[in-house]
Amino acid sequence: MRALAALFVRDLRLAVRVGGGGGIGVLFFLIVVVLMPFAIGPDLALLARIGPAILWLGALLASLLTLDRLFAADHEDGSLDLILMGGTPLELAVAAKALAHWLTTGLPLVIVVPLLGLFMNLDGRASAAVALTLLVGTPALTFIGVIGASLSVALRRGGLLLAVLILPLTVPVLIFGVSASNAAIIGPLPFGTPFTILCALSLVSLVIGIFAAAAALRHGME
């Protein structure tokens, strides 16, 4: 247990240091959301209508692009081999790393949403709805992403492979996340229905993600 806590704290510390990459996800999210009105045009009504979707897509892409940070650095300096050979169950070690990753990458995205909601002409209620769905949905993105990160950890020319593998699996999270946001803003669907499914997706991806990622690490490291 202490080993897991130490691993968790280590990952948190590494993420906030220089080169950790914790804040770069937020920057990318900001840039993507700012780019959208340049492409779509300044029609405020239209932006408010598709605002939740744009914020969700930006968060999805920002999560995706920071995923290789999860295992790549440890693989390069050999810490991943030490974790694999250590006494703690690999699934729990992966869970600890993924949780630290979410706290430093996913949670900042959620915190920034009210500001970005202003750019999308979303009122307070709408921004709050999007922030809440992202709070519950970004763990799903992280834990699904950890599967792809573990599959591509040992590849030198991974490139876009991680994105290609992960994006089809994140489609349900995206659908229900936007559906829940829109339900809170316009209705007619009650907010609870897609929101509870979103919570369920996060919980299921927590379980499946860490087992699949641990299996991929065991089989992939030679």
Binding site: I147, A154, L161, V164, L165, L167, P168, L169, A215, A216
Partner: protein
């Protein structure tokens, strides 16, 4: 003859040599019969002769899901039972499944234009089949990114098992969601809801497609085994070349 008897690649190649001509013959016969029955099937009272796209579209859809199922069983063979030819089976099935999914999406789209008025609609069935197609392409990409075959096989096996959740979603998408696509008409608890004059050609074409899958699959497995032998020979030649340490 248990599956484990085919763990020896040479034995499998001998088996493939013997079986393939018969499979090809059976496939040709089945297609001949299926296409003849398709020609003789009655026109739909609303759709006219266009309904006959169904005899291509539905078997392709069934085979696309069957392909991922075959890959999932092969994935279990790789990870759980360590069957030596399981990852060969999985690698051979991936492009076949992708091709059948593409055929399903294309024939469905061409059928949808005259019938629904649109080439595409984002309903549950079409979306989940499109996601299946993207996952097929993802698995093929993963196979081509890792050089060493058995490592690639293990990685692809994990991805296949994670993606297997999509198959029940596709099957029941027309029941769980409000969709434009026709609900389940053949494989359901209360039996098929189609008249025998259309059901028989459909089943014959389905059998023909299935035989086609098996034929192409065994041929592709044979090719993959030979490909790996070529790779090993090339590695051995590079190792024995003058000027090489070892």
């Amino acid at each position: 003859m248990a599956l484990i008897d085919f763990a020896n690649p040479t034995r499998f190649l001998a088996f493939a040599e013997r079986v393939l001509p018969w499979l090809i013959g059976l496939t040709v016969l089945a297609f001949a019969g299926g296409l003849y029955l398709t020609g003789g099937a009655p026109d739909d009272y609303q759709q006219g002769a266009t309904v006959k796209i169904m005899f291509l579209h539905v078997p392709s859809a069934w085979l696309s899901m069957f392909g991922w199922t075959v890959m999932s069983i092969a994935a279990l063979g790789t990870l759980v039972w360590r069957h030596p030819l399981a990852d060969v089976a999985a690698k051979a099935a991936a492009p076949l499944g992708a091709a059948f999914t593409f055929l399903c999406l294309t024939t469905g789209s061409l059928w949808g234009r005259p019938m629904w008025g649109t080439y595409w609609v984002w309903d549950a069935r079409l979306t989940s089949v499109l996601v299946l197609f993207l996952m097929y392409l993802g698995v093929i990409a993963l196979w081509h990114t890792v050089e060493e075959p058995s490592r690639a096989g293990r990685a692809a096996a994990i991805l296949t098992l994670v993606g297997a959740i999509n198959i029940p979603i596709i099957k029941w998408s027309v029941d769980w969601w409000n969709t434009l696509h026709q609900p389940a008409s053949v494989v359901k608890l209360s039996g098929p809801a189609i008249h025998p004059t259309i059901l028989l050609p459909l089943m014959t074409m389905a059998v023909a497609f299935l035989l086609l899958f098996f034929t192409l699959h065994i041929a592709a497995m044979r090719n993959e085994i030979l490909r790996r032998r070529v790779r090993t020979l090339m590695l051995m030649r590079a190792q024995a070349a003058p000027g090489n340490a070892s």
